[in-house]
């Protein structure tokens, strides 16, 4: 199969050349930050590191980390590295886990970001002949604008739908023959279900590919979306702090996401000690921007737990690959001494035929952790017999025990009864923290 690249020389660059390019850029980026961001200069001074100590990427480990807490402390302008008059846009996080984070962009920052998104679209098979339906939200959220920019750069006919109004999404998709859909995986699943309800079969739907990100999803969910829509579903990763979607993206191999490492230098660290881990080991993903003008972040801790791999990829790209994040350091629960990620619960639910609508409730009673999972059941699953419902609860608890090693108490509940905040389900209630 012919492989297409958006920026072939970068995407297929030899590791040695990439290292050289990254080193040159890193030296400049560190100097830019040290001279323009007093907040980070202080961190470097405290650690006794001077910009001239950083001669290449081998010196990266000398730099101090930045965390989400730093971004909140420095809100709104504390990490800005260029006068505001040079900035042309901001984006912001949803703020569901605390104070908002605001990121600034110069025109060059936006251009590079859009290039990253364009690489993702081309890797998913996109070209100027495609009609790209962008159903991510447009606004402070980076999804809509990011993919919109990437789509236009590739030359696709771009449908700036934004999220919501599913009937209109379907009408435009069918009438204008959209071939690529960009949105969150949960919205893609929802659109798929709506199409199915309206009697459309996968072969009636013009889509060939989807680029889905901005929230965690599982392989099971990917297969289900691919089947319902009759497409190949590609993952895309990014975070507002470091630009937005397109930090990394999936190729035809669908076995991890290529990091745009000419712009974002990735490391995996031990989240407890901060020590850099060798390739292939699981740990916290850390990014260092290499080209940012307005909002450069050096050694930013993403809190995503994942693995990097430089194994040869059949798509021809040499860019390092990151596995789908297995969870977040701040998502991970330790229950009865066992690490539990909400994503594992989701995997079990999808395997067992449930919707991924659940809530984990952890408490401590008489010095023992209690572990309960509330799961919404569908009207198809519900029966009039108490014994059937109890059997379903028991079999789901068993399936979770096999996955996690510890036994939860399952409570099946009615649909739409699990609390949602700003549309995002509240996945974890850890009452132990309140004691």
């Amino acid at each position: 199969m012919a492989q297409n690249f958006y920026q072939k020389e970068i995407e297929t660059m030899s590791p040695e050349d990439m290292k050289k390019l990254q080193s040159e850029k890193l030296v400049k980026q560190v100097k830019h930050v040290y001279e323009n961001v007093p907040y980070y200069k202080n961190l470097m001074d405290e650690k006794g590191v001077k910009p001239e100590d950083i001669k290449g990427i081998e010196d990266l480990h000398k730099l101090p980390f930045l965390t989400k807490a730093d971004l909140r402390d420095a809100y709104p302008y504390g990490l800005l590295a260029t006068p505001l008059e040079n900035c042309v846009r901001i984006h912001s996080t949803s703020g569901t886990t605390g104070k908002r984070v605001v990121a600034f962009y110069t025109q060059k920052d936006i251009d590079l970001w859009e290039d990253c998104c364009a690489r993702a679209i081309v890797a998913a098979g996109g070209s100027k002949k495609d009609v790209c339906q962008v159903a991510y939200g447009y606004g402070l959220f980076t999804g809509g604008f990011g993919l919109n920019g990437g789509s236009q750069r590739v030359g696709c006919l771009t449908l700036p739908m934004s999220s919501g109004n599913t009937e209109r999404q379907i009408q435009f998709m069918m009438d204008l023959n959209a071939t690529i859909l960009c949105c969150t995986p949960s919205y893609a699943a929802y659109i798929g279900e709506s199409l199915k309800e309206q009697g459309y079969k996968p072969e009636d739907i013009p889509l060939k590919a989807g680029i889905f990100g901005a929230e965690p999803w599982t392989e099971e969910m990917r297969r289900s979306i691919e089947e319902t829509l009759g497409i190949k579903a590609y993952d895309i990763y990014g975070l507002t702090e470091s630009t937005g979607p397109g930090v990394s993206f999936e190729c035809s191999e669908q076995t991890g996401m290529h990091i745009n490492e000419d712009h974002f230098l990735a490391e995996i660290i031990d989240p407890d000690t901060g020590e850099v881990l060798p390739e292939g080991e699981k740990g916290e993903l850390v990014f260092t921007s290499l080209d940012k003008e307005a909002f450069p972040l050096l050694r930013y801790r993403t809190r995503d737990i994942c693995v990097l791999s430089r194994k040869k990829c059949s798509c021809g790209r040499t860019l390092v690959k990151m596995a789908k994040p297995m969870g977040r350091t701040d998502d991970m629960l330790i229950i009865r001494g066992v690490n539990v990620f909400p994503s594992q619960i989701e995997t079990v639910l999808l395997k067992e035929g449930y919707e991924p609508n659940y809530q984990i409730v952890v408490d401590r009673v008489n010095n023992n952790d209690t572990f309960e999972v509330n799961v919404e059941m569908t009207s198809e699953q519900f029966t009039d017999k108490v014994s059937d419902v109890l059997k379903m609860e028991k079999s789901l608890a068993n399936a979770m025990k096999i996955m996690l090693g510890i036994n939860p108490t399952i409570h099946l509940v009615a649909p739409k009864t699990i609390a949602r905040s700003e549309g995002k389900a509240v996945r974890v209630i850890d009452k132990r923290k309140l004691i």
């Binding site: 519900f382 009039d384 017999k385």
Partner: protein, 143 residues
């Protein structure tokens, strides 16, 4: 022949039953029979109403988890031993009763029993051959 039973899933918490009955009342739906099975966590309400379609619609609109199932309704005399007679018939026909509930007729001197079994047709045949009279949807609507 079977009659429709509306089954509603509710959490086992204060105020959840009244919320259901209130919706039915506001929509002028009359209940003929109501039985509740409960566990520590949840309850399952089983209802026979005069207008099952309307009840299903309004509860659906309020996002209740509901299921309509076919159950067997049988008329029995209002005397000691009559329920035993009916259950004996099913037992002899090797029919397992998942659950049942009964209610009195308002005017005539007999009662109705609602039976949930695996195979409605077998139960209906066994009961009618033994001389029992079954009730139909039409009967329920007239009650």
């Amino acid at each position: 022949m079977a009659i429709k039973q509306l089954t509603v899933f509710v959490p086992n918490r204060k105020g959840t039953i009244v919320a259901v009955t209130d919706i039915l009342a506001k929509n002028n739906i009359n209940m003929r029979a109501l039985s509740i099975a409960e566990t520590e966590d949840f309850g399952i309400l089983r209802l026979i109403v005069n207008d099952e379609t309307a009840a299903e619609k309004v509860l659906n609109e309020s996002d209740y988890l509901i299921k309509v199932v076919d159950v067997v309704g049988v008329k029995i005399g209002d005397e000691p031993g009559k329920l035993t007679e009916a259950l004996d018939v099913l037992d002899k026909a090797d029919i397992n009763v998942e659950y049942l509930y009964a209610f009195m007729a308002r005017t005539e001197k007999h009662a109705y029993v609602v039976l949930r079994v695996e195979n409605n047709e077998c139960a209906e045949n066994a009961l009618t051959s033994a001389g029992f009279k079954l009730i139909t949807e039409a009967d329920v609507n007239k009650l």
